[in-house]
Symmetry: C2
Amino acid sequence: MERVANSFCFGGEQLRYKHQSTSLNCEMHFSLYLPHQLAAGTATQSLRFPVVYWLSGLTSTDENFMQKAGAQRVASELGLILVAPDTSPRGEGVPDDPDGAYDFGLGAGFYLNATRAPWRDNYRMYDYVTQELPDLINTHFPADADRCAISGHSMGGHGALTVALKNPQRFRSVSAFAPIVAPMQCPWGMKAFTHYLGEDQSTWRDYDAVALMQAGPRPLPMLIDQGAADQFLEEQLKPALFIEACSAVGYPVQYNWRPGYDHGYFFIASFIEDHLRFHAQYLR
Amino acid sequence: MERVANSFCFGGEQLRYKHQSTSLNCEMHFSLYLPHQLAAGTATQSLRFPVVYWLSGLTSTDENFMQKAGAQRVASELGLILVAPDTSPRGEGVPDDPDGAYDFGLGAGFYLNATRAPWRDNYRMYDYVTQELPDLINTHFPADADRCAISGHSMGGHGALTVALKNPQRFRSVSAFAPIVAPMQCPWGMKAFTHYLGEDQSTWRDYDAVALMQAGPRPLPMLIDQGAADQFLEEQLKPALFIEACSAVGYPVQYNWRPGYDHGYFFIASFIEDHLRFHAQYLR
């Protein structure tokens, strides 16, 4: 693991690392924020800090959230480590959408383990974000493996919800901005799942938040923000499907409908403070 | 003038416009933030809001500050309009550095009026940011022309300081992050001024903050933040030259030395709140 960038930010440290990923068979970057308590050296060696994992959306890398969301101010105040992985495997040897489309292949790993050739050798983002990356973080940084939360945006909101619903013992809370909640029922998800997982839709349910919710999972504190002016709302995001699924099984979700807000980072920046404070309640 | 982007952000509106610039003889973009008091329609038509102009550094456009500094949260709270122009003229017909260097030509207008061919037909950023752009803003938005402040980063810090020192009647306050204070004495400035203004260095003094300060200008409230880990500190920024010049004429400046911080946007994001609150004191 090699550090490739570091900057002071709100009294803490904004860092970027690269490493060879065994899950993904390629070199990966991730970004990390250490709050001021760590940078200042006031924390003792034995003190460990809670972690919020952030999963980004289509076309993003590990850097977008750290550069655009403005999350570090509140993370530093609350003593939270932030970790943002990339959105797919990367590099020359990694297969991409043959047409170079933004919604499949590079930048569009959908946080699943692909089972179909040629994708299955690299596209194992589920293993990466649930096992390999947390192991790296817990080994190399003063992170408390027992105090984690997960959040994300759009495709990364899908990632956060599905990962948390499948691993409620691993996370204290989960949140999402404008998540893809029903990839089995929207063009982005159907395209990706067909390629990564094949035609048999029974294998898709394991990565679909609505389907996972219908199974009645163990509840975690859950917060979702959705902009009412989101350009992908009706065709891709379909929030009503998830609200209905939660309601049907009695799963408690705090769902904030935000008039006027669209799908972009200005929306995330406006409400990231609420999300970090939400997680911090359960991470103390 | 045409609106090309708009997003809600912290209850206000993040906007981007393009227009044909008469000063620069090309099409220009600028970005603008309207605080929540305006977006919500609670302000009456006759109420006008103070404006903070932001000038960006080398390689930036009008978008970087709005995407990376996280300024909108506090601007919305304080009721400030934010305006960010591009850093140079743009387009196919605009001459650029023959080697495509980042520090001259496109993205590097240095907020001056060029007097040498071929630059003088387009590179008139001084006129653009002091006259054409404020006229546009005051005409099309509820901006109070009598309550303006100016700030900027690096080359844009140079712009903010020189524009304010030459126009103290136009601004209530001025601030800068890691400004180029002595372009006549650093490689970035000497290269740019030689091309834009010619070999006669007597013409350079009009765009050099240290030289302008030596003339004993009328004081304005002035705030500067400088990172101690800034990679351009010694070769390009030379803050001691400006501090000495201020001291020699008794010009009051609040100068904050920030251990650990580098030249990038994580530094700006960490202290933009302080700068906006500083300006707001004088804009009320």
